[in-house]
Amino acid sequence: MSTTRQRFDFGRYNFILVPFIAGGLALLVGAVIIWLLGANPIEAYIGMVQGALGSPNAIADSLVKAGPLLFVGVGICIAYRGGVINIGGEGQIVIGALATTLVVLTLSGLPSLILIPLALAAGFVGGGFWGGIAGFLKARFKVNEVLSTIMLNAIAVQLMTFLLNGALMDPTSLDNSIRIPQTQRFPLWTDLPRLIPTRLHAGILLGVLIAVLAYILLWHTTIGYRIRAVGFNTVASKYAGINVGRYQILAITLSGALAGLGGAVEVMGVNHRLFTDGSATGFTGNAGFNGIVVALFGALHPLGVIPASFLFGALLTGANTLQRTVQVPGAFVTTLDGLVVIFVVASQIWARRRATRHAMPELPPQDKIVPASTT
């Protein structure tokens, strides 16, 4: 495991430093925009920090926001390591939440000790199924996953709208002329336990646990080793006798499953009911996309995703308070989000330059693949 040791050598601080500097530059550009909008940038950013970290509620909100990013981000790490681009996180979150909702509403008589794990498992399976479709289409029919995941995102939303508009609609809403496309509130005993008297729920702990498990899977099991081998060099893996298709399907299925679990946690921990506004973002808040960014922030390593998702959750939560503290338009938040992503992703070259071979190339040299696959 000597390679593992070298890989995360934090003696080379660039790895962390560079994203922070880049993020700072993005905020600087954001400051110019705030100034152009006629607000005071310093006041705005102080408000932003307070909004993200200034009170127990604010910190809880930041962590709650980090939840889905953590799940999706860890999933993206797995997909990425397996050489699959999963931009279907939005759809997988939605399907996961739908599966959870179905279980909660149909089996609501069960005690919470059984129902909560069952409902979470349903989210995991639902998201995995949705991701697995893309994996299957890629392995079996060579349908590129970029195309299929984009299409599957749209299909997932339509499916949610369809179900919330009929089969799953809140029975009391069915009787009203204004039909609200949402389910009834879940029974109280299906709420994920709160950690402290804020919105912070136990789902975030589950996320951290999942990240650790994903790390163990990828770096300490044969399956994980093969996933990484396939992602690193498809051709060599094939020669080494690894069933490339199977491991690609597995990678994107796991990735989807984690996104689905994120959806399950969101619906059981935060919203306690599923609703739709005809788009995915109403429920996901773009977590399917931002999760990809978080994965990169975390150097595509499950453990790195933990702090990365917290940071990003805090950033988004803080930025949202700008509307309330200095009254800049809501669109600024999206703009700032984009700027941070652009700056950080563009700065990676400097992060890599010093920490080369430690941060990015995770995989063993090709010649090592052959003996490994014989196990």
């Binding site: 593992t4 995360f8 934090f10 002329s177 506004d277 788009s279 669109a331």
Partner: protein, 355 residues
Amino acid sequence: MKTRYILFTLALIALLALAACAAPTAAPQPTAAPAQPTAAPAQPTAAPPPAAKVFRVAVVMPSAANDLAFSQSMIDALTKIQAEMGKDKFEFVYSENMFNVTDAATAIRDYATKGYDLVLGHGSQYGASIQDIAPDFPNTAFAWGTAVDTFKEKGVNNVFAYTVASDQGGYVEGVMGVKLSKSKILGALGPIPAGDGQLTIKGFEAGALATDPNAKVQTTFTNSFSDVALMSQAAQTQIASGADVLTGTSQSVVGAVSVAKDKGVLWFGNQSDQASLAPDIVVASQVYDWTVALKWMMEKINGGTRGGEVFIATFANKGLVMVYNPAFKLPDDVKALAEKTIAGLADGSIQTGIK
């Protein structure tokens, strides 16, 4: 080295926790002390403390404040009340683009913490969040719409619900539409078959058929509140299949209005006054005038009631108004019929039959 990695994570969490401990003075603990929101400090940006009591409203809404549809209808109402009462008596702030409900819940709680008199969740997706947050702030009034559930039977006493009988407006539009139509085919466009949009469309159909049983109303849903291109094609499709009068809801209808303008087909607006988009073809708009609902709530709040009641905007209480486009030459007989229908709906002698 992975241990360092974990250490780093722990350090970060510790830092967050530290910040949490250092900060509590900044924000009230909602669950601990039930009484203080009324004593909350004035808004940081506000001018010197005014002499009279200021009524302060905060709104959280899903789309942009300038969407010329649902969100704008609320902003227009707040602006109007502020103009009537004066800035020293009435203040409002808003958070727009809160399409993500988790973010919206954060904003709602934050506004409540800051001591606003009334916190509005202007979107039916915010109900569950308000139900969770309201009990923590018993001295703050909350409201959400469009909805009819105040959670009173669940023990929550400080939530108002407001909704709109948009089937009434749709009904009148249907009556006028069928009179103005030559083909007697009318088209109705919506985002998803739910909410006030669906109610408008049902009313539109009922009004048209009550006036002319042989008329035909075609309905199309695009399944998106924002897809302007698809909405414009839906309008094209309606026109190609014979419709010469159209109506529609959601912020994406601006695309449909533009098609109607090109093809010289009539349009009935909803939610906000849409005449400015195409003065030649917009006949009238059903406008949600939330000033009535807001004033009703303010009166209740000043009288000590913070929730538990539902406001339904109708023609009768003027929460719903038909705004005729002055630039459009509406034949007198049609206008008279529309006015008669409005009066009938207001006094109950006409029913839309939508339930």
